[in-house]
Symmetry: C2
Subunit: 459 residues, 2 copies
């Protein structure tokens, strides 16, 4: 284990991890619960959860069973959502209550979210009234908001305290403080935050200095109902390690830490990447059925748009009957224009996510994409025209495909930026559905311009 930590696994050393997994499988086969418990105890919870996630679902369930329903809470919370859900399903109510007691409130909420309403109610009933009230209050906030993500444990101090008083308070109340935090929130008598003092600042300041003299203004302004994406943006913008969360009256009610925001950032990035490829969700442990459900609906939409393209081609049946070269060349126009549109779309979706397309920047981007479409259009119109000429020896056909390429590229450039910007304006996610729109627009243009021109000129 130590060896693996010191030399994190590169592609060439799967042996150590592989051996661990083999050992684990053998222990499960042998029903050796003692070995399993000792092994998990000796590992870092993040490593232990990684190892457990390598098991098949059946083996994983056997392992949880062997632990007598007592999976350590710090491992439970490190598990990926679907494994955690599985594990929680198998734990006894008492074991879940025990885990909730151990965990900080944001992690406890994550576990509670996995439960169906009945069981959640039953388990909350078993908890101490105070803990229960806090958790229930958090559950009242909508999913994916700051209120759901925040933890109730943090350190705050009145502005008239000195550094010394704050440190003494922390020492006297060590048990009630969160394991890890990075700053002290300075609050007024109404419990509204008026600033913060970094622990690194507190540490280097003499005991008799007042907090009021060293506090920093709070840049972020995170309210309980703020969307997690906006919270993550504030963390990135101001390079925060943690931030205070306030309720409707501006009172300090919780704290969000950067590790949770890193997860949000990863989730949002995954969503965008999958959405652009027409997948509604994906996860390492998905079954075939999960995958079909996440993909078939978008394929069905694509089925519709593909037949729209077919219908356009069918309009030019006579041209196709007269000249088989049109059928041979038309996918080239559609493929390249579609690719150009997807390129612009990816750039736009990314820029929107990073908030680079606000205000005048959007106008600049539209102009740039239109011109990029034109420039690439000229380059590839010449390229495709030349190849078509050499292949079929027909300069007129070459000219027609070149003009169709240029028109389709310009159109692709505009579609790639205008579709996501319009979706955003209407409050929709610019990544979802946009690639279907863009490809339909470019296909339509490609087939229509190429076959239409050919009908006009060649027939």
């Amino acid at each position: 284990m130590t060896e693996r930590r010191i030399d994190p696994a590169g592609p060439d050393e799967p042996t150590d991890e592989g051996r661990q997994l083999d050992d684990l499988r053998h222990a499960i086969l042998d029903g050796d619960g003692g070995w399993l418990r000792a092994k998990l105890d000796e590992m870092h919870p993040a490593d232990a959860s990684d190892l457990l996630e390598q098991l098949s679902t059946d083996d994983f369930e056997t392992a949880v069973e062997m632990l007598g329903g007592a999976l350590p809470s710090e491992i439970l919370i490190e598990l990926r959502d679907e494994y955690r859900e599985d594990a929680v399903d198998m734990l006894s109510d008492a074991a879940v209550v025990g885990a909730l007691d151990d965990l900080e409130s944001d992690d406890a909420i994550a576990v509670l979210e996995d439960l169906d309403a009945d069981r959640r109610e039953r388990i909350l009933d078993e908890m101490a009234p105070n803990d229960r009230a806090l958790l229930e209050a958090n559950l009242l906030y909508a999913e994916k908001t700051a209120g759901r993500l925040m933890q109730r444990e943090f350190l705050s101090a009145p502005e008239f305290w000195t550094v010394g008083q704050t440190i003494d308070f922390a020492r006297d109340n060590a048990e009630d403080l969160p394991t890890d935090f990075y700053e002290v929130y300075v609050v007024d008598p109404m419990n509204r935050p008026i600033g913060y003092v970094l622990l690194s600042q507190l540490l280097r300041t003499r005991r008799d200095v007042g907090l009021a003299d060293i506090l920093t203004d709070i840049q972020s302004a995170i309210k309980v109902d703020m969307d997690q994406e906006e919270v993550a943006y504030q963390f990135q913008k101001y390079s925060l390690a943690s931030a205070p969360v306030t309720d409707g009256e501006g009172r300090l009610v919780g704290m969000i830490t950067v590790d949770d925001m890193v997860h949000v950032i990863q989730d949002e990035n995954t969503e965008d990447l999958l959405a652009l490829s027409n997948v509604s969700s994906a996860d390492g442990s998905d079954t075939v059925w999960d995958s079909v459900r996440a993909r078939a609906p978008w394929l069905a939409v694509n089925l519709g748009t593909a037949f729209v393209a077919s219908a356009i081609i069918a309009l030019f049946e006579d041209a196709l009957n007269a000249l088989v070269q049109l059928a041979i060349l038309m996918p080239v126009v559609a493929a390249l224009a579609g690719n150009a549109g997807s390129q612009g779309l990816a750039v736009a979706v990314r820029a929107i996510a990073e908030r680079e397309l606000d205000g005048p920047a959007a106008r600049r981007a539209i102009v740039r994409e239109a011109l990029t479409g034109l420039v690439n259009g000229v380059i590839f119109a010449l390229g495709v025209g030349l190849i078509a000429w050499l292949w079929f020896g027909d300069p007129l056909l070459a000219a027609i495909i070149a003009i169709a390429m240029l028109a389709s590229f310009f159109w692709a450039g505009l579609s790639g930026i205008l579709v996501p910007l319009s979706l955003k304006r209407f409050g929709a996610d610019p990544a979802v559905a946009s690639s279907v729109f863009v490809l339909t627009l470019t296909d339509t243009m490609a087939f229509f311009s190429f076959l239409g021109l050919a009908s006009l000129v060649l027939l």
Copy 2:
């Protein structure tokens, strides 16, 4: 300003930001350097840099000029790469030296990276020998490694110190400590880290307790030559706010903080998303020429693959001449199979990035993708077959397109997972080039199976 901070701009309130930008533009037009300086001073550096980035390049350069070459270093470092490069180009050598003195070493390195070799040399010559030596040492590490990203400022303490001694040391050396840090590294006499103590832990522990009694083992093992992607992975896995960096002899030489890792995570995500859409790089301030250069090479590759598809279609010229319906329907097969392949590819690329496809998980994913391809293949084979039958009233044609769909979907499922896994195995980035491969494979299969079957059966 305060108003904007308290209510971060939602989509409905561009007025405040718009007004600020207008004010700024007027000040630049009027050459009002005093107002500009006062405005930037009053804002948080992250907000100030955001505002400056909204300016056109010309206005931005005028603004930097008006500041008399003295752009505050905390704003300079917040600017996006391309704006920072621009600004540094315009600053006098003395102003750059001043900024480097102000900045912590990781930020100073970011500025030095923007300079050409000559100017970098000249500016390093002007610096204090000590600072210079540290920066030059960092520059020796390869780009995108821990050595480049780390800062040289951190707090370490020998293991025999008590909490009280550590706090006293921090108070006595307040000036030399970084502005913000989250933990104290406990080192042995050879300066090798043997553990860390979180500041939140230090704060709540009594003065007479020894560091050795409260230290935690270091989970991450970040060496100076570790790739930034691996470093970011360690931060995510162990939920780190900061981590120590060691040299080849295991001695503590620097510290990396989570805010830098958030940037790395965003950059890696952007790279993947763009690569999947065949864009080699993109940035908000890209010119048309930048965009063409980032996209045309991939379009050229696509040009080649598109003509491969054409060549396959050309093999079946007789069939197309005999039955125009084939030309009308063939894009449906290619579009849907291509979409199915892209879906699988996106899921695989994402899973590889999140390290979910190591070991046995890869085999499970291959089976799942093949089966998903089959299931969706059956569904859409029936769908497309039915529509083709209704449209053209030819059951044989409907059967042919249905079989071609099924074969293409199965093939798409396999391509979508095997292409990125193979690229990864050969040490290449699984996101780069993979979509071109997958689409070429699915196009080839789609045209070949549909037109080939049609030739065999119908002619």
